[in-house]
């Protein structure tokens, strides 16, 4: 959150720089089952972001000390490819990706029926191939579709969405410029059927009213993305049963 007031992010006609309305999200495309080596996988394009997620497991949990006697542990790795941003990133983990991996794992643990797989581990590998604001949300959406594709039982899908504030106006789904120069960002992981929230982060400056508008926008977007997720999974299973595969 730069919060620089001198960058214009809303046009005179009230639309945003990329022509979207303030409560309009970027285009989302999802495909399930894209990585044959994985037990389940998904590819998500959200605006210009591209994320791929692979699931391995449930498998034996190594080392033994990470095992839980009553449930599976979820091991998330969120990683940005070196070519995913405008300046190349040095390969490897950093503090940011460690934090995102941790909170993403905790969000997924609240939807996956982890108690069905005691002492095991489910590996969730999120790879960001192109980053243009909102990658942690795109990663969560990808992970949910990939988990479902792997046949791992869940209470609900989980959808990653974000809204924020630019030029004192609440907008849905920030793009790169809005993320860099806007005033607030509120990413959430929402369970679309129950409306519960399993992932929450925020930075910037929001009033209570603005927060409520953000929440309302996020809920609306979660429903929209949920339809696309279900559609992707349905296509995947149609092609598995009746199609060539």
């Amino acid at each position: 959150m730069g919060g620089y007031g001198d960058v214009k992010l809303l046009r005179d006609d009230g639309l945003r720089l990329d022509g979207r309305k303030i409560d309009e999200m970027r285009e989302v495309e999802i495909e399930a089952g894209v990585l044959p080596a994985a037990d389940g996988s998904a590819w998500v394009k959200h605006g210009l972001n591209v994320a791929v997620c692979a699931i391995y497991g449930p498998m034996e949990a190594h080392p033994r000390k990470i095992q839980r006697q009553d449930r599976a542990v979820i091991d998330v790795r969120y990683n940005m490819a070196p070519f995913s941003t405008s300046d190349r990133i040095r390969p490897g983990f950093n503090r940011r990706s460690r934090e995102i991996s941790k909170v993403t794992a905790e969000a997924l643990e609240s939807v996956v029926l982890v108690e069905r797989y005691p002492r095991s581990k489910i590996r969730v590998e999120i790879e960001i191939l192109a980053a243009e604001a909102g990658t942690r949300c795109v990663g969560i959406t990808a992970a949910a579709v990939a988990l479902a594709d792997a046949g791992i039982p869940m209470r609900d899908l989980i959808v990653g969405v974000a809204s924020g504030k630019v030029e004192d106006t609440v907008v849905l789904d920030l793009d790169k410029a809005e993320d860099n120069y806007g005033q607030a960002d509120l990413p959430m992981g929402i369970l679309p059927t129950t409306g519960e929230i399993a992932f929450l982060q925020m930075d910037g400056d929001l009033s209570v009213d603005e927060y409520n508008t953000c929440l309302q926008y996020n809920m609306k977007a979660a429903k929209e993305i949920h339809t696309i997720m279900v559609d992707a999974l349905r296509r995947r299973y149609e092609s598995k049963n009746g199609g060539e595969k």
């Binding site: 990585l35 080596a37 391995y56 490819a81 390969p91 191939l129």
Partner: protein
Amino acid sequence: MVELVPKLLRQELNKLAEEDKRIDGRKRWESREITLETNCLYNAEGSAKVVWGETVIYAGVKFEVRTPWPDRPTQGSLMCGAELRPVAGRKYEPGPPSPESIELGRVVDRGIRESGCIDMDSLCIIPGEKVLGIMIDIHVLSDKGNIFDACALGAIAALRTAIVPAERFDIGEDYPLSVSMTPTMCSFTRVGGRYVLDANEKEELGGDERIHITLGDEGHLHSLQKGLKGTFTPAEFDEILQVAQGRCKELANLVNAQEE
């Protein structure tokens, strides 16, 4: 268990080899189907996605402005690295770069570098002060065998379609990177006692050594590498080199067709 499965697989592969068959029904010199897509990632200056059978890789090109090495004041640089991250398969684990991923990156790097397809002097901005560095990063997302050939194809395809972001560096207008050649790699694995082209993951698990050959436009050799335990005879090499000559041309045509 870990030792037993390849042993049983090896027996099966040996039996198939006697009848000159392969485990997935392909002929000895037959490759799996390849789909190549370029310019598929927004923030990379050049990008390629390769689906090679069930193997999936992405390659991305980035540029940086850097100071040249003191002994080569007019030359830019090229670096190619491959990452075998845990996403690529069950057997991959997090941690520092493994010897396998270093070998992969270096073999692909050599094929491109030694072909001379990039004129390092053309990457000079101000002699002794500023030159362009090219970085090719390869991401393996699904390893179902023969990642070497897939990575080499992705790397050269991403490079050949790369645009130098000159405006961002304040050195003029964006322009396509000049790449004078299309070096491509062809790998052979010994399975059931004889070499086959483009081994899948089962053939790799139950097979022996592998040979990687990178050929340029004139069919010249630019990089060779033998990996894993095993030996081969000169006659065997002659045979696979012949196969590689034809195959590399087909792969180069596939890349060149991407550039309209």
